[in-house]
């Protein structure tokens, strides 16, 4: 029965999804439910002179219309920012704009009506008198003299400056280097686009003054805490936040969104349940976007390719307001990864976080780490072309070696474990790298544009030690809770603070508990996503659920085993130290006398009777633990891919993709492979197609799936996945995060392949996404044609 670790068990949660029984927020129907729709600004920047809601209110079926001022008058506070480095300037962020609007899609009023159709009709009857202002969308230009100003609180639109390292030392070292690669890079804005649009349902119980909020969140406890302590003023014990099945998150559902205040405000005001469901265009306008960096990188090295120093300057676009963790992404989760897999001794980085008339930006799958990997691995690839050293060879020269762990990087982190040559050996083998290069040479002789791309990436996942993240400026402890409740018949309910929105926790966490206790997974149910049922939990992001949430369950299982063993010893009249807990089958027996044994379920029942327990022992078999890991985990990868570019059209065909990742021990290879492949697809999306594009006036050009190029099934070859394993010492399971590595590596691997294909034309760099149009223009320019 047990021995689930490492087995590709198919998911126990799937029967409901494949039969259309997923419990998504938008599916909720409550008696008396009403529907909300939100009036949003068509202007990127404008003063609000007045809002006339009379006509909308008069429409039959409309129950109420509220503005931002109504919400402030009702005691709803601004949405706080949860990462505040020293000297940060914090502009207020109200759930509905009051004085002016600052991005297209900024909410100005909400209509509550009997049906969603009526609510949308009423939106057209609201008259907002706007006075348009000049807008700014570029993160760097936002700081320039004379740029339109978004907030009084942020002069020059600068919210924060975040440096790390010693700039003088780095500059001195760069001046001494044989070769310095200098490049300007744009990491373009992305729209996360979980397939389930955000939604919220709120129900107010006026008699008891209790509020229940169903919301598409990756972390319901965080939302409850923020609403209690900052935004909604409701005591925590009077607020229940439920995140049932959530249809994908990728970071975008971490944050405390305006609608999580607007919908409860409406429900309390009208005394009926209220539902709001985003349209896809609303998702594009209001879900926190990702990336959007403008950077200059300088890397110095010896002529043999030994890295000496790295200097990074980044302008990070925060958008119109600071989303919950926005300032953390281009700082503590970005510069700290600039050592990569390498022993670069000197690193200096600085980020300017600026406000612009665009949708707020925050964590999106990888969150800072894809931006770091893209920058570092692009620079190294350019260096390999400059120096004429094979890109794998160049990387290998600089790897941190397996015997050097734990390894203190110059940018604050201590890497846990790894064997980077081992990961590359495996990738080279699966890809048949030498053959790839030989074929590329022949293709080039035929005049074809074939490129091979390589990357070696690392991330800090499994966040994290609470002391470290709070020390960096985050207002959140990053432990996780895990409780095991054993029922009288020996069946088990597991309560986890982690939240599954596609990860498959109902399977993987059951595998962990099944193995720890010797109980079949059929007897285990995982409960998540409900603040009333669970101990305080942190939630799922930063690839932390197995490392941290799994760790908490291992701790609780140890406590359960300990109690069960003591009871078995007592009832078998043996000494506790003579007992063996057989985790294969959940029996507890006397060493050397296997017939003197008790089954797990027998003990569970004995605990319920409570008539024959060891002296002084309490009845009950339920344990709760909180795991706060001593360090992050550091998954790492070697990805290799091959592309061919159509010279006539500039179109890129991705022909082969090999992903080898060291994510530590594996709980369920089926799920890990799913995470890696899905992650790579998102990374490829950024490399080739996706762009949350604004025009210079602040209009979002990619406002729906008609204009935002999502990766589709025909854009990919089969992705080959391999792995090496160096267990992480940072948690009891030895696992590392697996959720983000694919995305972190995917973008730069493909970008490097495309640039490798174009290298014979003397093209050094093209900014993402590498669309046919851009590539074609670069080819034409290189050929002396085009204009």
């Amino acid at each position: 029965m047990a021995n689930y670790m490492g087995k590709g068990i198919k998911r126990v949660e799937d029967p409901r999804f494949i039969q259309g029984q997923g419990k998504y927020v938008a599916n909720l129907q409550i008696y008396g439910m009403t529907h909300a729709a939100i009036k949003r600004s068509p202007y990127p920047h404008a003063k609000i002179n007045s809002i006339d809601t009379a006509e909308a209110e008069a429409l039959e079926g409309v129950l109420a219309v509220f503005t931002g001022q109504d919400m402030i008058d009702g005691g709803v506070g601004p949405i706080p920012c949860g990462f505040t480095p020293p000297d940060i300037k914090l502009p207020p962020h109200y759930s509905l704009a009051v004085d002016k609007v600052r991005h297209v899609g900024d909410g100005v009023a909400v209509v509550v009506a009997e049906t969603a159709y009526i609510a949308y009709d009423a939106l057209d009857l609201i008259e907002v008198d706007y006075e348009p202002l000049e807008a700014i969308v570029d993160a760097k230009e936002a700081m320039a003299d004379g740029a339109p100003q978004l907030h009084e609180e942020t002069p020059n639109n600068l919210s924060f400056t975040w440096p790390i390292g010693n700039e003088e030392e780095v500059n001195n070292a760069l001046a001494q280097c044989d070769h310095v690669v200098e490049v300007d890079l744009i990491n373009q804005r992305l729209i996360p686009n979980a397939m389930e649009p955000r939604a919220a349902v709120a129900q107010w119980d006026g008699a008891m003054e209790n509020l229940t909020l169903w919301t598409t969140s990756q972390n319901p406890h965080t939302i409850r805490l923020l609403m209690s302590a900052f935004t909604f003023g409701i005591p925590e014990h009077k607020l229940r936040v439920i995140s049932p099945d959530v249809g994908g998150g990728f970071g975008s559902k971490i944050f405390h969104y305006a609608e999580e205040l607007i919908v409860p405000f409406c429900a309390r005001a009208i005394g009926r349940p209220v539902k709001w469901v985003a349209t896809r265009s609303e998702a594009h306008l209001t879900d926190a976007h990702g990336r959007d960096h403008i950077s200059r990188a300088k890397m110095g090295m010896t002529k043999d390719g030994e890295f000496q120093a790295l200097h990074i300057e980044t302008y990070a676009n925060m958008g119109a307001y600071l989303s919950l963790f926005a300032p953390m992404i281009p700082t503590a989760l970005y510069h700290t990864l600039m050592a990569g897999l390498y022993k670069t001794p000197l690193i200096y980085g600085i980020t300017y976080g600026t406000m612009t008339n665009t949708t707020p930006v925050d964590a999106y799958r990888g969150a800072g780490r894809p931006e770091a990997s893209y920058l570092l691995e692009r620079v190294i690839d350019i260096a390999s072309h400059d120096l004429g050293i094979d890109p794998i060879e160049l990387r290998r020269k600089n790897f941190i070696q397996p015997d050097e762990f734990p390894y203190q990087t110059p940018v604050a982190l201590i890497y846990d474990s790894g064997d980077y040559d081992g990961v590359f050996d495996e990738a080279v083998k699966i890809a048949d790298y030498d053959k790839m290069r030989t074929e590329q040479s022949s293709a080039r002789e035929e005049g074809r544009l074939v490129g091979v791309g390589v990357s070696g990436c690392i991330e800090a996942s499994g966040a994290g030690p609470s002391a470290a993240v709070v020390g960096l400026g985050a207002a959140i402890g990053l432990y996780e809770s895990g409780a095991i409740r054993v029922h009288p018949t020996g069946k088990i309910t597991v309560l986890t603070g982690a939240h599954s929105h596609g990860q498959g926790h109902e399977t993987s966490l059951a595998q962990i508990v099944g193995d720890e206790l010797g109980v079949p997974i059929e007897d285990i149910e995982i409960v998540h996503g409900d603040t009333e049922k669970l101990p305080y939990g942190v939630g799922t992001y930063a690839s932390r659920s197995m490392a941290v949430g799994g760790g908490a369950l291992v701790m609780s299982a140890e406590k359960i085993r300990d109690k069960v063993t003591k009871i078995a010893a007592h009832q078998l009249e043996a000494a506790v130290e003579d007992m063996v807990y057989d985790r294969e089958n959940g029996t507890i027996y006397v060493k050397g006398a296997p017939d003197k044994s008790k089954a797990f379920a027998e003990i569970a029942f004995a605990v319920t009777l409570a008539n024959n327990l060891p002296e002084g022992m309490e009845p009950g078999l339920e344990e709760t633990s909180y795991f706060d890991p001593p360090n992050f985990t550091f998954p790492n990868s070697a990805h290799i891919c091959q592309v061919e570019i159509d010279k006539e059209s500039g179109e890129v065909a991705l022909q082969d993709y090999i992903a080898v990742d060291d994510v530590g021990n594996i709980i369920n290879p089926l799920l890990v492979e799913g995470q890696i492949v899905g992650g790579v697809a998102q990374g490829v999306g950024q490399a080739l197609w996706e762009h949350g594009a604004y025009d210079e006036n602040g209009q979002l050009l990619s406002g729906s799936f008609m204009d935002y190029a999502m990766p589709r099934a025909d854009g990919f070859p089969g992705i080959q996945v391999g792995r090496t394993i160096t267990p992480s010492p940072s948690n009891p399971l030895g696992v590392k995060g697996a959720g983000e590595m694919g995305t972190i590596a995917g973008t730069v691997t493909v970008a490097n392949a495309v640039m490798d294909a174009l290298a014979p034309l003397g093209i050094r760099h093209i900014d993402l996404p590498l669309t046919a149009q851009k590539i074609k223009a670069a080819i034409d320019a290189a050929n002396g044609g085009g204009d």
């Binding site: 198919k10 998911r11 949660e13 799937d14 029967p15 409901r16 999804f17 494949i18 039969q19 259309g20 029984q21 997923g22 998504y24 938008a26 599916n27 129907q29 969603a116 159709y117 686009n193 979980a194 397939m195 389930e196 649009p197 099945d245 959530v246 249809g247 994908g248 990728f250 469901v277 349209t279 896809r280 265009s281 929105h501 596609g502 990860q503 498959g504 089926l670 799920l671 492979e673 799913g674 492949v677 899905g678 992650g679 790579v680 697809a681 998102q682 729906s704 799936f705 008609m706 999502m710 990766p711 589709r712 099934a713 025909d714 990919f716 089969g718 992705i719 694919g742």
Partner: protein, 156 residues
């Protein structure tokens, strides 16, 4: 307007607004919430259902357009208590993660295979262009469709 439709083998007559979308009729009037809405613009396919034997996107079809039609949603794809080979294959091959695109993906895939039981991998990928998944990278969806094709051919 009054419309009469058969959904999952059951007949319904309902008075609907002329502007009501089919997907809202299915979800909000009939309470069959397995059909999800992902984009409102016919791009993502989360709302795919079968209409008189064809797979269509119900977010850009008006309810009044289907008067007299026979509709199958994910809830009616297999007899109660059974799984269609396509549902089984998505489960076996780990063809879903968050599950939101899954009903539409399964409905689209089923018709693809019925129309062409011997698709190549590239034909499957091309055939699924109109259904967006953000989680899986499509790889295991393609495997599921391949595996279900065999099962569906064997079952005939």
């Amino acid at each position: 307007m009054n419309i009469s439709v058969a959904v999952n083998g059951k007949s319904y007559t309902r008075d609907v607004e002329p502007r009501m979308l089919l997907v809202h009729f299915i979800r909000d009037v009939l309470g069959l919430t397995g059909t999800n809405i992902g984009c409102d613009t016919s791009q993502c396919g989360a709302c795919t259902v079968h209409l008189d034997g064809m797979s269509i996107k119900s977010c850009t079809t008006l309810a009044v357009m289907v008067d007299g039609a026979d509709i199958t949603t994910i809830e009616g794809l297999a007899p109660k208590g059974n799984l269609h080979p396509m549902q089984k294959a998505f489960w076996e091959e780990h063809g879903l993660q968050c599950g939101y695109c899954t009903p539409g993906m399964i409905m689209a895939s089923t018709k693809l295979v019925e129309n062409n039981p011997n698709m190549s991998e590239s034909e499957i990928r091309h055939g699924l262009e109109g259904n967006i998944c953000r989680c899986t990278g499509y790889q295991n969806i393609v495997k599921a469709v391949q595996s279900a094709s065999k099962e569906m051919a064997g079952g005939d």
